[in-house]
């Protein structure tokens, strides 16, 4: 299985990098862009073949290491293959 974890700052936590990107987009003439949040994507392969078990395992990884849940939210995609 393949796992993809998206980590972003929580809503309500100021994201200065996202804000800077938003301002730069406006300066380039891309109007109407709001709420830019910058994050990171972590991809990996799992030997686990049961998607539900994989989900539980990756959830645990997020809580313990991949995200700092004080300031960050995470989203998990598990895909076959």
């Amino acid at each position: 299985m393949k796992a993809k974890v998206h980590v972003t700052l929580k809503q309500g936590v100021l994201d200065p990098q996202g804000k800077a990107v938003e301002n730069a987009l406006a300066a380039l003439g891309f109007g109407g862009v709001t709420g830019v949040r910058q994050g990171k994507v972590i991809e990996f392969e799992l030997s686990q073949t049961d998607p539900e078990k994989a989900q539980v395992q990756v959830e645990e990884m997020c809580k313990k290491l991949l995200a700092n849940t004080v300031i960050e939210d995470y989203a998990i995609d598990i895909a076959e293959g």
Binding site: L14, L65, N68, V70
Partner: protein, 233 residues
């Protein structure tokens, strides 16, 4: 008194703090490599500044999972005082010994300069050498020093007297009213350093070891190390 300084790959203030603390103790603290599973008997543990593991993933995140940190947490829970400076503060929040997190500086830039700190709390082995409300000058050098915690945690830290140092103006005035970057990184409530509930763990972004000798331009940092020796020696 015996002190130990933890060394991670990428630590760069480990020797500075060894020298600064060593001059107060009278002998050099032990250096303990991150791969060690156990720290030899010690009266004080210092988690130094730097860029442990290259700040991979998040500042302090990888170091918090290293073998030696398991023993730091275990010893801290038994009451051994732990001082985390800069990256050390980040590591201590990542491993759960201190609440909150250190985020990217609000101005997005690495900031390296002397700042003024107000000593908010003197009831600890770390800060007992200062006067309450005393203004001291200590350098900072970091990219991720923007202290964040939820309002409930911030209220508790302030209410229980666990904010050790806060950024302030040169005259001790609130950083938010002093302007000119008195709060250099956007930290919530101008927090520069916090204590654990037990007051035996201190995390701070400024570097007391960098102003611990008059030849370096100031001695305000030495008070912290001298008092540790007085309290623990």
């Amino acid at each position: 008194m015996k002190a130990s300084v933890i060394v991670f790959p990428g630590s760069n203030c480990d020797r500075d703090v060894q020298v600064a603390l060593g001059q107060s103790i009278g002998n050099a603290p032990d250096m303990v490599w991150h791969g060690e599973a156990e720290i030899p008997e010690t009266d004080l543990i210092v988690v130094p500044g730097g860029f442990s593991y290259g700040d991979y993933l998040r500042s302090g995140a990888m170091a918090a999972q290293s073998p030696v940190m398991r023993d730091v947490v275990a010893k801290a829970k038994k009451g051994v005082p732990v001082l985390g400076i800069c990256n050390g503060f980040q590591v201590l929040t990542e491993c759960g010994l201190l609440p909150g997190a250190l985020m990217r500086n609000a101005g997005l830039k690495f900031v390296c300069k002397d700042v003024h700190l107000s000593v908010e709390e003197t009831e600890s082995v770390f800060t007992g050498g200062y006067e309450k409300g005393q203004v001291i000058r200590i350098p900072i050098a970091h990219h991720d020093g923007n202290y964040y915690a939820d309002d409930e945690t911030l209220d508790r830290l302030e209410g229980d007297g666990l904010v050790a140092f806060s950024y302030c103006g040169p005259d001790g005035g609130k950083a938010s009213k002093s302007g000119n970057g008195a709060n250099p990184n956007g930290s919530a409530r101008d927090i520069a350093g916090i204590l654990s509930d037990t007051r035996t763990v201190l995390g701070m972004m400024p570097h007391p070891e960098r102003l611990s000798d008059p030849a370096l331009g100031g001695n305000d940092g030495r008070v912290l190390f001298d008092h540790l020796v007085k309290a623990l020696g």
